[in-house]
């Protein structure tokens, strides 16, 4: 986790420096003392300083972790080794070997795909598909009974979305390629 802290700190430091540089392009009204760049600059300086603090904290904690580990080389724990000496790809492999993390990754992909397909497919098709995919990511099952049960649940959720948002609250949810007249 300390490595992750250093990584996040470095990322935020670079980002805040880049955004600070971007503020020099901001328009500055000639008659105004506090232009559009003032507030972001104050915040970005704070963020850069805090990022430096996080990098320092991470490296100090990493060093403190290493010292006892070096002293007890004979009884070194495999977990500590993973944290300190693995490459990025090894770390990624170890990350994906965890079934929980794999599920989260697939769920993230499903959320992004739902966002992408919501407009072209419309909510009537995309909501049950999204529901089915998430339930399968959480608990894979090859039984046809489970598939039909989940499909039914997905359709029920779609019906609630249709009634509450589309009918009752008149929210213009996208219908995709389905004809509008079917839903009035």
């Amino acid at each position: 986790m300390k490595k992750a802290d250093i990584g996040i700190g470095v990322f935020l430091l670079i980002l805040s420096c880049f955004l600070f540089y971007v503020t020099f392009d901001f328009y500055h009204p000639p008659t105004q003392i506090a232009g559009p760049a003032l507030w972001p600059r104050i915040l970005l300086i704070c963020l850069a300083l805090l990022s430096l603090g996080l990098i320092r904290q991470g490296s100090l904690a990493g060093r403190a972790q290493k010292e006892p580990a070096q002293r007890q080389t004979a009884q070194r724990e495999p977990a500590a080794e993973v944290q300190t000496s693995q490459s990025f790809f090894q770390g990624l492999k170890a990350y994906l070997a965890n079934p929980g993390e794999r599920r989260v990754l697939f769920a993230v992909l499903a959320v992004l795909l739902f966002n992408f397909l919501f407009k072209p497919l419309g909510f009537i098709l995309s909501v049950p598909l999204f529901f089915l995919s998430l339930t399968y990511i959480l608990e894979p099952s090859k039984r046809p009974r489970d598939f039909f049960l989940r499909l039914l649940q997905g359709l029920a959720v779609t019906a609630v979305v249709y009634l509450v948002f589309y009918r009752l609250l008149s929210v213009r949810l996208p219908l995709g390629f389905l004809p509008k007249k079917w839903f009035y």
Binding site: I33, P40, L47, L50, G100, A107, V108, V111, N115, L169
Partner: protein, 498 residues
Amino acid sequence: MDFFSGLTTVFQAANLLLLILGVILGIIVGAIPGLTATLAISLLLPFTFSLEASSALIMLVGIYVGGIYGGSITAILLRTPGTPGAAATALDGYPLMQKGQGGRALGIATTASFTGGIISAAFMIFLSPAISSFALKFSSAEFFALAFFGLTIIFSVSGGSLLKGAMAGCIGLVINTVGLDRIVAYPRFTFGSRSLLVGFPLLPSIIGLFALSEVLRLFLADPKNKDEAPLKVGRILPRWQDLVHLKWIFLKSSIIGTLIGALPGAGANIASFVAYNEAKRSSKTPEEFGKGIIDGVAAPEASNNAVTGGALIPMLTLGVPGDSVTAVLLGALTIQGLQPGPLLFRDHPGVINAIFAGIIVANVLMLIFGLTLSTIFARIATIKRTTLAPIIAIFSLIGAFAGEGSFWHMTIAAGFGICGYFLEKNQFPLAPIALAIVLGPLAESNFRTALIRSNGNPLIFLSSPISVFFLAVAIGSIFFSLRKQRKAGSAKARSEAA
């Protein structure tokens, strides 16, 4: 003032029915992520055109009261704040739910909302002119001081690491600077994107941060774990000893909510965080906040419902809306041919009395229906995780879309959910980001306006007793938080050395 004639108007069968409908609809809409009281009132506004002024306003007040309260139900049950004002309620409400005390949290939230609503209504009835003149003393320097004081809450909601909490707050404030500048309408950090011109709006950001990140967290645990029983909700009706214990928090938070509600531009979302911070600051067990303590539910709920009465004060007495909901209500008054301001009290006392009585009765109805509907909503907790997680994800994403019918808002919710999950995984608290997104616009626009007004002289922030008070309390709070963290750090180091 003839308050009883107002009660007579409210208790006419048709008006009472409209009020009941308004409160129930408000609670349901408030509980659905993405749908706010503002939206519910806007949707129902055309329906009120044909009604009498008193009847229309009674119904709209009912939606307002119910809508502000409704957000707390899903905040407690699912860590999905129905409204931005309920984000602070999720901080302790959801941990209580995970401890199997969700019913207790729901009961306290309902009672606190009722108390806040009643106290603020009393303030509205008896102290409207005094509170209005207090609110008028707030200029940009005072507003900045209030926002700065609010931002120091970041240190209260940071959890284990103040550094990561402060970083999360800073990230939230930087996020706020994206989009059109509020003073000169200059696009900042948009990189040519038209979608980014609107920046990152509050509602989809909060839905993403709290609800979607929680959905992703649900995917982390093994679904085949048979030891993981569905969460118990328990008794919803609040216990007498809890109410006695919370009496001062109810009172203090209600006053905070009423005063903040009366300030133009500062609504329930700001009031709830300020009241949460105050409850934590004055608590004998501040370390329990964030881990599931009823004080952390009572304070934001009493405060955000007290905003209802507070926000109506400047709207009725000065014609200045206290928040976005009262801005829509102001429109409703105008549509009915009424001119808000001092003349409204003289020319239309019947309408004023009906509003005053309506808000009191709406709060009583909210208590009754809140406790009843909570038992129905509480059944959500018994749904299996494999079904619940996809349902929350769908309602969160569609809720983010529904607010303004915007695909961009849905993308924001997804993006904030994913980033929120990874930040939380690395021990970055999410509450400071939400808080900074809530308070950022208030802080920036008033900071710059004050500097422009004073020709760049920063001493303007020390020019009035109100701003000096808020700044002193804020700096004191930062100092004490840092001292506490340092003490805790050295105690830990000593125990490790031993």
